[in-house]
């Protein structure tokens, strides 16, 4: 699986937000549908008052993770790293946890979510933690079943519960390709193809 670390600190890509760095799969063009983890880098400051673990900094990471959770339906675990390149925090948000597995749920509905803020550790420890967590399939973006004939993926434009639309590069041309996020919806796509052919 292709993995790309991308500098996005000047790129508005996540609902107009700009995380500093993203770990991205399947394409080197950043999009919120293929982002595996976000990394936000801060200066360590020149006084003792410069703290990494502020509510503002944590809130920024939570904001990015929320955007990923909204974009990546079906994924369970979302990870972020907040660091000044000396120390670091790993943040984790798990979604789709069945209520009843915990007695301490407060959300409405059958599922709930859980947020972890791990304590500050040296960067080397946090990176190792993040690396290990990202070996799990549930902590990574779902790979969509596009046809091999589509070409090479440029970026995913959008997805909803029944379809995914992406830009591909094929024979030096950009093409728009649509697929279903789950096999269940493939007959619908086939029906659309047949209809378009008949027009």
């Amino acid at each position: 699986m292709a993995t790309y670390i991308i500098d996005t600190h000047r790129v508005r890509l996540h609902n107009d937000r700009a995380p500093d760095i993203v770990k991205q799969h399947y394409t080197n063009s950043p999009d919120k549908f293929n982002t595996a983890a976000i990394i936000d880098v801060k200066g360590f400051g020149n006084s003792a008052n410069n703290k990494l673990g502020t509510s503002e900094n944590f809130g920024q990471i939570l904001d990015y993770l929320t955007i990923l959770a909204n974009a990546q339906d079906g994924r369970k675990v979302f990870l972020g790293l907040l660091t000044n390149l000396k120390d670091a925090y790993v943040l984790k948000c798990s979604t789709g946890i069945l209520k009843g597995h915990s007695r301490r749920t407060s959300a409405r509905g059958a599922h709930t979510s859980k947020l972890w803020q791990y304590r500050t550790v040296p960067l080397s420890v946090a990176l190792k933690h993040l690396y290990m967590k990202l070996t799990s399939a549930e902590a990574n973006p779902v790979e969509y079943c596009f046809s091999d004939e589509a070409g090479s993926l440029v970026c995913v434009l959008l997805r909803n519960s029944s379809s995914v639309v992406a830009v591909f590069c094929r024979e030096e041309a950009k093409v728009i390709v649509k697929t279903a996020p789950m096999p269940l919806w493939m007959p619908g796509i086939e029906k659309e193809i047949n209809l378009l052919k008949s027009l």
Binding site: D20, E56, D73, G96, S113, R119, Y131, L158
Partner: protein
């Protein structure tokens, strides 16, 4: 001549919606909402964080696991790479974020996460 049925029109609408619908969080979302996953405004991030981490479901300041179940220990060469890249990254630390050498930081992280 092909005559469109009601189902065909519905299919055409689906195609059009897939291409033109703006991304609206929650529109297609099956990720359940609660206080930790609600979409947040950029001006209230600190408040949103305070609310989210105060949720009974949240865990604060937990120790990172020394091992993740199902993940094997790194090979000696991998461990050596991790140590070296981490040290190189720490040398990139600077007082002001605006002076960050993102190109080098990204290069080092790419080396770290390459599989």
């Amino acid at each position: 001549m092909y005559t469109k049925t009601g189902n065909d029109i519905k299919t055409l609408q689906t195609i059009a919606e897939a291409i033109h619908d703006p991304m609206v969080p929650g529109h297609f979302l099956q990720v359940p909402y609660n206080r930790t996953t609600r979409h947040l405004g950029s001006t209230s991030r600190a408040k949103a964080w305070t609310r989210a981490i105060g949720d009974p479901n949240s865990t604060i300041d937990s120790d990172p696991p020394s091992r993740v179940p199902g993940v094997q220990s790194s090979s000696p060469s991998r461990t050596e790479l991790e140590m070296r890249v981490s040290e190189d990254l720490m040398h990139q630390a600077c007082t002001e974020e605006i002076n960050m050498d993102y190109i080098n930081v990204v290069r080092l992280l790419q080396e770290y996460f390459d599989e």
